[in-house]
Structures are given as structure tokens and as C-alpha cells.
Amino acid sequence: MIRFKAARKRFADGTVAVDDLTLEIPAGQFCVFLGASGAGKSSVLKLVNGMVQPTSGRVEFDGIEVVPRTYREIRPRIAMVHQQFNLVLRSTILRNVLAGALPGTSTTAAMLSLFPAELQQKACRLLERVGLSEKHLYRRAAHLSGGQQQRVAIARAFILDPTLVLADEPVASLDPEISRGILQLLRDASRESGTTVMCSLHQPDLAREFADRIVGLARGKVIFDGLPDQLDEEMIGRIYAGARAARETAEDDGPVALGALTASEAV
């Protein structure tokens, strides 16, 4: 269960990305955050694993407040799927999936690439589950198509049996046909394992097709929260109203400084 209590994020430049967000997401739900570029979807997702820290308010994950002190406890239970897949392109596909299990591996074993046999077998099962085969195992990720790369990223996300998957525009760089396959996979895989998914999308039709629940965001505020059937054309119009103006000033997916991230998770 994820709980936002009056969470607010104001970036150093004054941009308010998340405005007074109060929301509860029950375990096992496939919750889609729908909004135009710059609406605050990425920021909302990243509040949950502390990659964005709230300026005020509170974010809880399974009853644990998300603050730097608790990152070490929380992060291994939260996996991310990214718009740009973020695989290590020069590494093999197996290696990429295993890298998702690094928090659960001792540093010494990790430095020597000594992953337990069960873990490697689990990686194989996951790769099979996402539709890849044995011949892919030792291929470099760079040799895969975008859709296949995202499948590997989903396998990587599930390797530590996460409680929650944060999928930030997982299909924004893919063709519509492939997008549906990826969302289908993400939804089915999470159903099978009872995993909660927070998925941001900007396509209303995809949201309606796959979501258990849709949260509509505009300028950092929740302006819709309901079942897919309840999302009518008028509401879609409101979610995207002013998006043009916002798009002109806002950049898609503002960068999160890695320095801040790694510094805060350092031991």
C-alpha cells in the first residue's frame, strides 16, 4: 500500500511538479497516472522510492515513511521500468537481468559476478516469461529491438519479487502495437505475482485498456481519480487542456541528478 499525504514537490527553480497530493494505492492495483508531458507523472512515481524528495508532506510505502534513512529498506522492494529502458547496452541480456538483483547480492560476490545458481535460473524463467529464449541469454542488450529491450527491463524489474513496480512511460518510445504487448505483459506479470504497479502514460486509450484505476494529473494536481470506464472525453480534454502551454515551457522527464540520488543512498 502506497500513501501520499499532502505531498508537494517544488524544484529549486520554483517549478511545482507535485501539488498537495493525497492518494492511497492498495496492494496489487495497476494504477495508471495519466497526464500530458510536464504534468508531474515522473515526479509522483519517483517520490515513492525517494529519487525525488518531497518539499513537504509525507509519502509512505507499506507503512514506512520514505526518507533517506529508510531508502535501504525500501528500494530493494521497488523496481523501476523506464521510458528509455536503461539497460547496459554492452552487457549481456542475462547480466542485465541479474543486475536487478544487486541489492540482494553481497558486494564481494557482485564484484566477482558470482550470482547464485538459483538466481540465474530465476533470471532464465523471467526471460522466458517475457518472451525471450535461450539464444538471447548471452547476446548484448544493444542487439535487441526497443520492444525486446523493454521486455528485458521488465524481467530485471521482477527479479527481486518487488512489492511495487514504478513504470515511468514504459511505452513512450515504442510503436503502438508493441506498446500494447508490453503493457499486457506488465499487467499480467504483476497480476500473477500480486505486485502493485504505478504506471505513467500519456495515451488515454492505453490507460483505459489496461488500468485498474486511472489518476489524471494536470500541473501537479489530481483532477481525476476513478475507474477506466469513468474517464470520459470531457475529462480527457481537461487533463490535456493547457498541456500545450505547459509543453512549451516544460521539458519532458526533467533529469534527476544522479549525484543527489547516489549521495543519499550511500551507506
Partner: protein
């Protein structure tokens, strides 16, 4: 928000800059004057004039009229034939036992000893090894390569912590960053020849002083190159692993290292190559290897020996480059 209230200019009125500004011409003129002054101070003018005179003298068929051409001729005439044989004078001919001769060696009772001008000054009774000098030089070259390899290993070992602490995003704080970067700059700034002299004071002349000098000097390069590459590696994969709670060391190992490995190997190979070249020179200050022999022979005007050494170095560096290229292609190949 955007507050562009002025109406934009039509394209026809946009200001274009000329490629060659007066400032550029002024800078070029100043540069030319400075170079001209410096050329005189550094005897570039004299060197060019001497070379020109030498070429004219050779073309006219009167090379003796030019000092430079005479010098070249003197070196070239004595550089060949290459000296590849060695000899040991026989002290007690009565005790000489032909059965104890090493392979290919033979006795020459009238082995000619020449002076630096190539004239025979006397004959000795000696055991002659036809390729004795060549094998001796080969042995020294192997020693030189060993020094270079150890220097490179040391360099990599020193540069790994320098790269970690010198890479923003991984270094613990600003202070450690600055210290690591300062050490890199310092190591690079100290010429290895000077470093070898200093190390030779502490450890005595020999290979170890050379290894330390090479390792310290080149770690400045490797540390900086590694750190810069770590900083420039794609952030996405790093973010992906860090977001799951993997610590910095693991992120570095799994998200950065695979990305930067080809460059790292290329740098390592380059450093090894230049260390082989540098190691030949380091011997001149007594830091072991072929350079010691080269220096001795040079001082004694033994140009026949010198040219054997130079040729051997050239061939060795060439072969090593070929090997290194193949190894690298293997390591990073698909």
C-alpha cells in the same frame, strides 16, 4: 514563464557574423610575431638554414661543404654495418678447450678490433659469438618490456582509486574529488625522467626506480581518463540500478564499467606502448633496461652498436603494437 513581449525580427534583418573577424586577424598577427621571436631564441631559424644548406650541398654532390651533412654522413657511415657479433679475448691460449665453446661460437686468433672511425687498431685472439651482441640486446629489450609492463600494472593500480575519487557522482565529497584530481595533475606534471632520478636516490639505480617512475607518471593520465569516462557514462542505466538500492560500487561495476571498458582497454594499451618507449629512455638515467647500454655505446661513439639497438627497439615496438591491437580487438570484439 516566457515573457517575450517584443515582436520578433523578420529573418531578413537577422545579424549574421562574418567568419573572419578583424579580431581573428589581430590574433593571428600577434601570434605570428611571437612565433618569429621565439623561432630565433630557439634556433629554429638556424636549424632550418643549416638543413637547407645540407640539402643543397648533397644535391650538388659536395656534402663535405656542409657541417650538418658531414655529421649525418659520419653517423651513417659508422652505423653500418650493424654490430651483431660479440667477442671475448682469450687470456690463456694454453688452457683453451674448443669443446667448451657455446653453440655457434668459434675461435678467431686474429679478430680485428676497430676504433670509432672504423679503422682496425689491433688483432686479438678471441672467442667470437656471431650473434652474441644481438642476443645481448634482445635480453635487455625483454628486461625493458618487463619494466614497461610492471610500470603499466602499477599505473593501473594507482589510477583505480584516483578514478573513483576523481569521478563526480562517486567520490564521497568535494574534498576527495579535488585531492584525487590534484594527484592526477601532479603525477602527470612530473616528467618520468625526473621521477626516475628521484626514485633512484631512494632505491638506488635499477629497474625498480624505472618501474616507479613509469607507474607514477602515467597513473596521472589513466586516473584522469578513467575518471572523465566514468563521469560521462550514460546516466540511465546507473539510475536504473541505483533506484533499486544497489550501492555505488555495484552501480559502478554493473552500469559504468561495461560502458567504459573499451576505452579503458584502449588507454591501457596506449600507456603500455608509451611505457615501452619511455623505458628505453629511462635507462639513460640508470633505471635499467636497454637504455643503459644505449647510453654507454652512445658516449663511446659506437654507432654500429647504437644502430643495432635502435633498430631492435623499433622492431620490438612495432611487433608489440601489432600484438596489442589484436588482443584489444579480441577483448572488446563482439
Amino acid at each position: 514563464m516566457n515573457n517575450d513581449t517584443t515582436t520578433p525580427k523578420p529573418a531578413a534583418e537577422w545579424q549574421l557574423r562574418s567568419v573572419y573577424s578583424t579580431r581573428l586577424f589581430a590574433l593571428l598577427a600577434v601570434g605570428a610575431v611571437l612565433l618569429a621571436i621565439s623561432a630565433h631564441r630557439s634556433e629554429v631559424d638556424k636549424g632550418l638554414a643549416d638543413s637547407g644548406r645540407a640539402i643543397v650541398a648533397v644535391v650538388r654532390g659536395k656534402p663535405e661543404s656542409s657541417r650538418v651533412a658531414r655529421g649525418w654522413l659520419r653517423f651513417l657511415s659508422q652505423a653500418f654495418p650493424l654490430v651483431i657479433a660479440s667477442y671475448e679475448p682469450i687470456e690463456n691460449p694454453e688452457e683453451f678447450n674448443p669443446d667448451t665453446l657455446p653453440a655457434f661460437a668459434y675461435r678467431d686468433t686474429k679478430y680485428p678490433i676497430k676504433d670509432t672511425m672504423g679503422d682496425v687498431v689491433r688483432y686479438v685472439d678471441a672467442v667470437v659469438k656471431p650473434i652474441g651482441y644481438l642476443t645481448y640486446v634482445g635480453g635487455l629489450l625483454v628486461q625493458t618490456i618487463e619494466i614497461a609492463i610492471w610500470g603499466t600494472i602499477l599505473s593501473v593500480l594507482i589510477s583505480i582509486p584516483l578514478a573513483y575519487f576523481g569521478a563526480a557522482g562517486y567520490t564521497p565529497n568535494k574534498f576527495s574529488y579535488n585531492v584525487a584530481r590534484a594527484i592526477c595533475n601532479m603525477n602527470r606534471a612530473i616528467p618520468e625522467l625526473i621521477a626516475a632520478l628521484v626514485f633512484a636516490v631512494a632505491y638506488g639505480q635499477g629497474a625498480w626506480a624505472g618501474i616507479l617512475a613509469l607507474g607514477v607518471h602515467t597513473s596521472g593520465f589513466l586516473g584522469k581518463f578513467f575518471a572523465d569516462d566514468i563521469e560521462n557514462a550514460a546516466k540511465g542505466p546507473q539510475e536504473a540500478l541505483a533506484s533499486t538500492g544497489a550501492n555505488k560500487l555495484k552501480v559502478l561495476r554493473y552500469a559504468v564499467l561495461p560502458q567504459v571498458m573499451p576505452q579503458f582497454l584502449a588507454y591501457g594499451q596506449y600507456i603500455l606502448e608509451r611505457n615501452v618507449r619511455s623505458a628505453t629512455v629511462l635507462g639513460i638515467v640508470g633505471a635499467g633496461g636497454i637504455g643503459v647500454e644505449l647510453n654507454e655505446r652512445w658516449k663511446q661513439f659506437d654507432y654500429g652498436h647504437v644502430s643495432t639497438i635502435l633498430l631492435a627497439i623499433f622492431i620490438t615496438v612495432f611487433i608489440l603494437e601489432q600484438i596489442a591491437q589484436r588482443v584489444r580487438a579480441r577483448l572488446i570484439g563482439e
